[in-house]
């Protein structure tokens, strides 16, 4: 069995374990309402995780995506309610704006050779400030208008939450991109060995830039969906530390920070594990102060087990 599939099975096993333990301790976990909620939030976070994963696959990192999601999520109701824009135009504008910011990240990383960590950390600070300034720190929502639009995040089709359908669409496109497109192969090759990829004639700078653009657009899309779901956006906080959840999900899902590896399915399962853990701490009455510690602990356990298994495989194949 190839290591990629092994890894997906491993993380899936972790998901089953966490679900099993939680369900055994509190049967309410398997209730339709609770499961629906987990799926909805897994879907919303999944969009962000896929973006984070694309950048990590090139060997970079995007710390700005939480603020980017916050910016898009705060500006959507602001454009709709304060300025009366039509929904489609506002969403197009915000997606294009995010793409432009992603392009800027990519250019700074590839042309000026600035460290991705620094570029996107500055992005994290700047976009947060921008969201707060533009909206004058007003808590903003959609009120009772735009019910139709909000169905994108809150609705369901045959009992399947709408954002889950959106995520499946995005995930399929991403998978197709990585597995079957020329650019997808180039992107993974760039992350795996940039020097070799360049000498093979791969436009490595363009591939890295593309990853930042896609990540920023997915962050924008995710942010807008979150905001439609919540219907109340506090510009100072909305989307805060989402980048850490997204990066954690990507890493747990098999993306090495060294770049060049990772699968869409793994990242989605990784996202689900984190959401289930979050849900479980609430359901099992574990003090909320411990919530982050538990999520952190399980992720650490997961990546440690993965690394140990990898070494075991290596020492076996060396014999």
């Amino acid at each position: 069995m190839n290591p990629e599939r092994q890894r997906i099975l491993g993380i899936f096993g972790l998901l089953v374990m966490v679900v099993g333990i939680t369900a055994a301790l509190n049967p309410d976990f398997l209730g339709a309402y609770n499961l629906g909620n987990i799926l909805r939030w897994t879907a919303l976070f999944g969009v962000l995780s896929l973006g984070a994963a694309l950048v990590i696959m090139t060997g970079g990192i995007d710390l700005s995506l939480g603020s980017m999601a916050g910016l898009a999520g705060a500006l959507l109701p602001w454009l709709l309610r304060v300025h009366g824009w039509p929904a489609w135009a506002a969403m197009m504008l915000l997606l294009a704006g995010c793409a432009l910011l992603g392009l800027l990240h990519g250019v700074l990383v590839t042309r000026l050779r600035l460290a991705p960590f620094v570029v996107t950390l500055c992005g994290l600070l700047i976009y947060r400030g921008a969201a707060r300034t533009i909206t004058s720190e007003q808590v903003i929502g959609y009120g009772v208008e735009h019910e139709q639009l909000r169905l994108l995040a809150t609705g369901s089709v045959f009992g399947i939450p709408a954002p889950l359908l959106l995520l499946v669409g995005v995930a399929l496109l991403t998978h197709l991109f990585l597995a079957r497109s020329v650019a997808g192969r180039w992107l993974l090759a760039t992350g795996r060995n940039p020097a070799a990829a360049r000498l093979c004639g791969v436009p490595t700078n363009s591939m890295i830039t593309l990853a930042y653009v896609l990540c920023a657009m997915l962050a924008g899309l995710g942010g807008m969906l979150f905001s439609l779901d919540l219907n109340s956006v506090t510009p100072a906080q909305f989307g805060q530390s989402y980048e850490l959840y997204a990066i954690a999900a990507a890493v747990l899902g098999g993306c090495s920070l060294r770049g060049g590896e990772g699968t869409v399915l793994g990242v989605l399962i990784g996202t689900a594990v984190i959401r289930v853990l979050y849900n479980a701490t609430n359901l099992l009455g574990i003090p909320t102060q411990l919530e982050f510690a538990i999520i952190g602990g399980v992720i650490l356990l997961g990546v440690t087990a993965d690394e140990l298994l990898r070494r075991l495989r290596q020492s076996r194949s060396a014999l």
């Binding site: 192969r185 795996r192 020097a195 990829a197 000498l199 060049g260 194949s317």
Partner: protein, 498 residues
């Protein structure tokens, strides 16, 4: 000389796997003596040097200093015994001053605290001994390579080194810096230091060495005292074996394919290189380590931005710094360092083979797995890679097979010019023969091949023409008819001009 030698080797040998890099060797270095080691690439010089400096441990034999047997547990133990190695690539920490660098690891202490004043005083003392032109508080990052070497020598003196081991110390220096270094070596010898000196540059050897040992294939083949030493004698001893004379090969008179004019690389900015290549011709870039072979190869391919001059294929100028452009123009490049620049770890052999031709036609968006598999199978068969290996991870292949993968990945596109840097370094004889046969087949089919190689046999076997480089300058061109080892070596070592 009286008393036991400063350094004494008795029957010291070392193997790597099945290869005996150094056969049992006796060698002495006395105090106040320069002992030079010469030999071709792969003769065992580096192994010898690493054994003396404690980097490697001998399989057999005894190393003694002043008659005392030594068993070095590592480089640190060798340094404590008074042996200082000045490596070919000078590596010094850049984020400190010269005095800090000299004191690093042996800081003068008063309790928990460093005593900087004592460190600076010692630095000034030893820097004066090496005739350094810079002050002890100069930041290391401001020092030239020559000055950094002086710094390392000063550090060795501060450690009370009795034996200095210099590995090609002048290979990265300008002529003026090299002259300074030689004066310094002479003054250290006069002060009673023993010096083991490894160099490819015969004029330097002739000037400095009191004794010269010639190694070939891990064995001493000759030893000369200063009085009996000559350039011709050294070259004859280094070559030794009689290689079969290169077979003449019919080279059809083709038109010119590649034009290189006024090419300058950052490493040797003072010299520019001009040459042409014909279609189907195999040209070798030959020269010593540091002569600029790799840089010229990379510049022709356009791997690096920094270059001056013009490279044109079929009259079309190549954009520097854009491998994408070069590969579309029909160039292919097989780099020297398989791990760093060639193989994609964790990708299957098939994916590695497909990497240069993921895009089946310019502007295509989607890959075609079926065609990729077909192409991979075809080029794997061409290059002699077993079809059963296509699915395994590339890093599990042997060096020879990895080398074939790096070459074969270009064959789907049938390149017009194939550039290779050390095409068979560190691989087994059978794989080497297969790669040589493949290169000859490609050339016969009209692909031009430009390769850099340190392996004399490889150059003699493959090349229609050899461009010999010496310190970044084109020292001479040898046509296949005039090609032999003595001429090549004489040009490469600067023993005489062409």
């Amino acid at each position: 000389m009286n008393g036991p030698a400063l350094l004494n080797l008795r029957g010291v040998a070392r193997s790597f796997g099945a290869v005996q890099a150094l056969k049992p060797l006796d060698l002495e270095v006395h105090a106040g003596e320069v002992h030079a080691i010469v030999g071709e690439n792969g003769a065992g010089k580096s192994t010898l040097l690493k054994l003396v400096a404690g980097v490697l441990r001998p399989d057999a034999g005894v190393i003694s200093i002043h008659g005392q047997t030594q068993r070095f547990s590592g480089p640190k133990a060798a340094r404590r015994a008074g042996i200082a190695l000045l490596p070919q690539e000078v590596e010094v920490p850049e984020n400190m001053t010269a005095a800090d660098c000299i004191a690093l690891g042996r800081e003068k202490r008063g309790g928990w605290w460093r005593q900087r004043r004592a460190e600076v005083a010692e630095a000034q003392r030893v820097l004066a001994l090496v005739h350094a032109q810079f002050a002890a508080d100069t930041p290391v990052e401001q020092l030239s390579i020559g000055a950094r070497q002086q710094l390392l020598l000063a550090r060795a003196l501060a450690e009370d080194a009795k034996l200095l081991v210099l590995d090609e110390p002048t290979s990265a220096l300008s002529a003026r810096e090299a002259e300074q270094l030689m004066l310094l070596v002479e003054s250290l010898r006069a002060r009673g230091a023993g010096i083991l000196f490894i160099s490819h540059r015969l004029p330097e050897v002739l000037r400095l060495a009191d004794r010269v040992t010639v190694l070939r294939d891990g064995e001493r083949v000759a030893e000369f005292a200063r009085a009996t030493c000559s350039a011709a004698g050294l070259v004859a001893a280094m070559v030794g074996r009689n290689l079969p004379a290169p077979q003449t090969r019919a080279l059809a008179q083709h038109d010119t394919l590649l034009q290189v004019r006024g090419l300058r690389t950052a490493a040797h900015a003072a010299h520019s290189v001009d040459f042409d290549m014909k279609r189907g011709e195999i040209v070798a870039l030959s020269g010593l380590v540091g002569s600029g072979r790799t840089e010229i190869l990379r510049s022709v391919f356009g791997a690096d931005m920094s270059r001056a001059g013009n490279v044109a294929i079929n009259g079309v100028t190549i954009v520097p710094g854009s491998p994408l452009h070069s590969t579309r123009a029909g160039f292919a490049f097989v780099p020297e360092d398989r791990r760093a620049d060639g193989i994609f770890d964790g990708f299957s052999v098939e994916n590695n083979l497909g990497m240069s031709s993921v895009q089946s036609s310019a502007g295509a968006w989607w890959r075609s797995p079926a065609r990729e598999r077909q192409n991979a199978q075809r080029v794997a068969a061409d290059a002699g890679i077993a079809a059963t290996r296509l699915a395994v991870a590339a890093e599990t292949l042997s060096g020879g097979n990895q080398q074939k993968v790096m070459l074969a990945r270009w064959l789907t596109k049938s390149p017009t010019l194939l550039l290779l840097d050390e095409p068979t370094r560190g691989i087994d004889v059978a794989a080497r023969a297969e790669i040589h046969a493949l290169l000859l087949r490609l050339a016969a089919a009209g692909t031009s091949v430009l390769f850099a190689s340190s392996e004399m046999e490889e150059v003699l076997h493959l090349a229609d023409r050899v461009l010999v480089l010496h310190e970044g300058r084109l020292a001479g061109t040898l046509e296949r008819a005039d090609l032999n080892e003595e001429r090549l070596l004489a040009l490469a070592t600067g023993a005489h001009a062409a």
